[in-house]
């Protein structure tokens, strides 16, 4: 966990006071909506179909049990008793009242949570691997650098009025769980040939109307130069980014239109002028940030305790363990993913009661720490393996032990037309129907790893472009239709999926997904060939034939 210092607390509290005054002036008519809109957006407040929506940042996906309880309190006191975890390590409340927002922000500020820059054309919440600090294969904890970037970019005047929103993601593992290649800037911590630690910097990734996979702009930037190099990128973007056309304003378009070589040269020229400026990070600064992260004092525990051996006879426990429990860097411990994808439920939603219960379980089993992943699930990052059976029973009681992590029903979905003012079609009912179709665990397990992503419009909040199966809601003559892509992925081998054919109506989407899955089962070379690998080997044609032969 990162402990805020006095400066952090002052900034957050002052922001609450400022926003309280802005809301008061808006409600009195002193501020018009045109004047107020940018102010509310910079505090994470959108206007959706039914109400205001309030988006709260969970930087690099790390929460304390105290913070999660406070989110539960906000859900219960100011909303309708639940929240929605998003694909960018935020939580959204869908029914908030503008008049009560300052109080909600104030309650969150008490535990170091804020909503600054969760919207608007500025640098957004810095996201990272939800297993940061505990993944066995990582170079070092990427949250140290995430926090540095968070502090550096928060309220930075040069980054507060960018041509468009700007998103960072950081990973320190070979396997990318943070989807860095679909972010404006993706950072991968790694070691160079000399054994030094630094960053591969990728730029220009993004989804939405025009999807691009990020390109490497510099293979190795030492930590000391990270901020100056990032600032050079943002300066070039600020100078050349399109402000005249919202659809061409993201940095991905600039990188595409200039070409990565030309863009890189512009950045290099800018960087050489400022490389050894005040932005140089000396070890003292980095160590100061590092020192504010606290880590558990782990016990020396066996890898295979008696409790686990005994529980292995229970097929339900084993089904859950195989999908939800991941190796930890410390022997005797495990990372446990909590599925927020129950059969028939909206993906990523958690009730206030569930949040409170998870906070209690985090205190009991995970040193009081919870993580939020971009797949819209939660994780307990420090669970003793001896406690897994007991934890599983308690998670099951509160409905977050569905054994479907990384399986076909572990669906990523945006709120869609049920909530969102931008959406053309509904996402959640499609996801719910798919979870029912694939509710049988044996069938889902037979299918294996398969990521389904659903977006209710081209803005792609459900990351449909990079789903193994991607579903995009569109409107045709007032009716909901859905385009289906296959072969996308968001990891270190990220690629945008390929459209398989004409859009299908709402009522046929689940049938089409079943057809695609059946085709995969018939076409895969062997039982352990993953869906994504079968699509890569065969292309989309066999799947297209299967889906459209009878349509």
């Amino acid at each position: 966990m990162y402990a805020y210092d006095e400066l952090d607390r002052t900034i957050i509290n002052e922001r609450v006071s400022e926003f309280r005054d802005q809301v008061k002036r808006r409600l009195s008519g002193e501020l018009t909506e045109d004047e107020f809109k940018m102010l509310r957006l910079q505090n994470g407040v959108y206007l959706q179909l039914h109400a205001y929506m309030f988006r709260v940042a969970i930087p690099y996906g790390t929460l304390s049990s105290k913070q999660l309880r406070r989110l539960a309190h906000v859900a219960r006191r100011y909303d309708r008793g639940y929240g929605h975890f998003t694909t960018r390590q935020n939580i959204q409340f869908n029914w908030i009242k503008l008049a009560e927002l300052p109080d909600a922000l104030s309650d969150l500020a008490d535990v170091g949570i804020h909503a600054m820059q969760t919207s608007g054309n500025n640098t957004r919440n810095v996201t990272s691997d939800q297993w940061a600090g505990v993944a066995p294969d990582e170079i070092e904890d990427p949250r140290i650098w995430s926090e540095l970037i968070r502090q550096y970019t928060t309220l930075h005047p040069e980054f507060s009025f960018l041509p468009r929103k700007f998103k960072f993601a950081i990973t320190a593992s070979a396997h990318d769980r943070a989807a860095i290649k679909v972010h404006d800037i993706g950072l991968r911590l790694h070691k160079n040939a000399e054994g030094e630690t630094g960053f591969e910097v990728l730029v220009g990734g993004g989804l939405g109307r025009t999807p691009f996979i990020a390109k490497t702009i510099k293979p190795f930037v030492p930590g000391r130069d990270l901020l100056s190099y990032i600032e050079a990128i943002l300066r070039v973007y600020n100078q050349y980014g399109r402000r005249d056309n919202i659809y061409k304003a993201r940095i991905k378009i600039l990188v595409h239109e200039l070409g990565i070589e030309k863009f890189a040269q512009e950045v290099e020229d800018e960087w050489l002028q400022m490389r050894d400026s005040a932005l140089t990070l000396d070890d003292e600064v980095v160590e100061d940030i590092r020192s504010r992260f606290s880590y558990p004092v782990y016990e020396k525990l066996p890898h295979m305790p008696e409790e686990l051996k005994k529980a292995a006879h229970d097929p339900y426990f084993e089904a859950w363990r195989k999908n939800s429990v991941a190796p930890h860097k410390v022997t005797g411990y495990a990372i446990v993913t909590l599925s927020l994808k129950p059969v028939g439920g909206p993906p990523g939603d958690a009730t206030a009661d569930q949040m409170d219960a998870i906070a209690d379980l985090a205190d009991k089993y995970s040193f009081g720490e919870i993580r939020v992943g971009h797949e819209q699930n939660l994780a307990l990052p420090h669970v003793a393996r001896r406690d897994l059976p007991a934890l599983w029973r308690e998670l099951d009681k509160i409905g977050v032990a569905t054994p479907n992590v990384n399986l076909v029903s572990d669906i990523i979905a945006c709120p869609g037309l049920d909530y969102c003012s931008l959406a053309n079609a509904r996402s959640i009912p499609i996801a719910q129907e798919l979870t029912r179709r694939f509710a049988n665990h044996d069938t889902a397990n037979l299918i294996g790893r398969l990521h389904v992503n659903i977006s209710g419009c081209i803005n792609a909040c459900g990351h449909h472009h990079v789903g193994h199966i991607g579903i995009l809601g569109v409107e045709k003559n007032g009716e909901e239709f859905y385009q289906i892509t296959i072969g996308g992925r968001a990891d270190e081998n990220a690629v945008v999926g390929t459209l398989i054919g004409p859009a299908v109506p709402y009522g046929e989407v689940a049938d089409v997904v079943e057809d695609i899955v059946e085709a995969y089962l018939a076409l895969r070379a062997r039982p352990d060939e993953l869906f994504i690998d079968t699509v890569k080997r065969l292309g989309v044609e066999p799947f297209r034939e299967r889906v459209y032969a009878t349509r």
């Binding site: 409600l27 179909l49 309708r80 009242k97 037309l417 079609a425 909901e480």
Partner: protein
């Protein structure tokens, strides 16, 4: 179901109303014939020509303190004069989400 945020020209082809969200709490509201707002679609002022729609929208937008994001949306007039939402978006805004909420209201 084109997003009202993309509503540029005002041209209606059937009965329409003006809807918005109430400023202080965001609740869905409808412009009424007596120049006020109601949370009930059945109270909405109905317009049938583009000129009427433009006028109704203009007076609605003028109430910047009471309402936010006003726009014109289609309705259907059923037998007996009952007003129904004219598309899925307005149906959802009027009737609520099409799913069960995680916590029943």
């Amino acid at each position: 179901m084109t997003s009202p945020l993309e509503q540029k020209k005002i041209r209606i082809t059937g009965p329409s109303m003006v809807t918005a969200n109430r400023t202080w709490d965001g609740v869905v509201i409808y412009r009424t014939p007596d120049h006020g707002w109601s949370v009930n679609l059945s109270d909405a002022a109905i317009v049938r020509t583009s000129d009427e729609a433009r006028a109704l929208l203009a007076e609605s937008v003028a109430d910047d303190v009471g309402a936010v994001g006003a726009y014109i949306a289609p309705v259907e007039i059923k037998d007996g004069g009952k007003i129904r939402p004219g598309n899925l978006r307005e149906h959802i805004r009027s009737e609520g989400v099409t799913i069960d909420l995680p916590v029943p209201a």
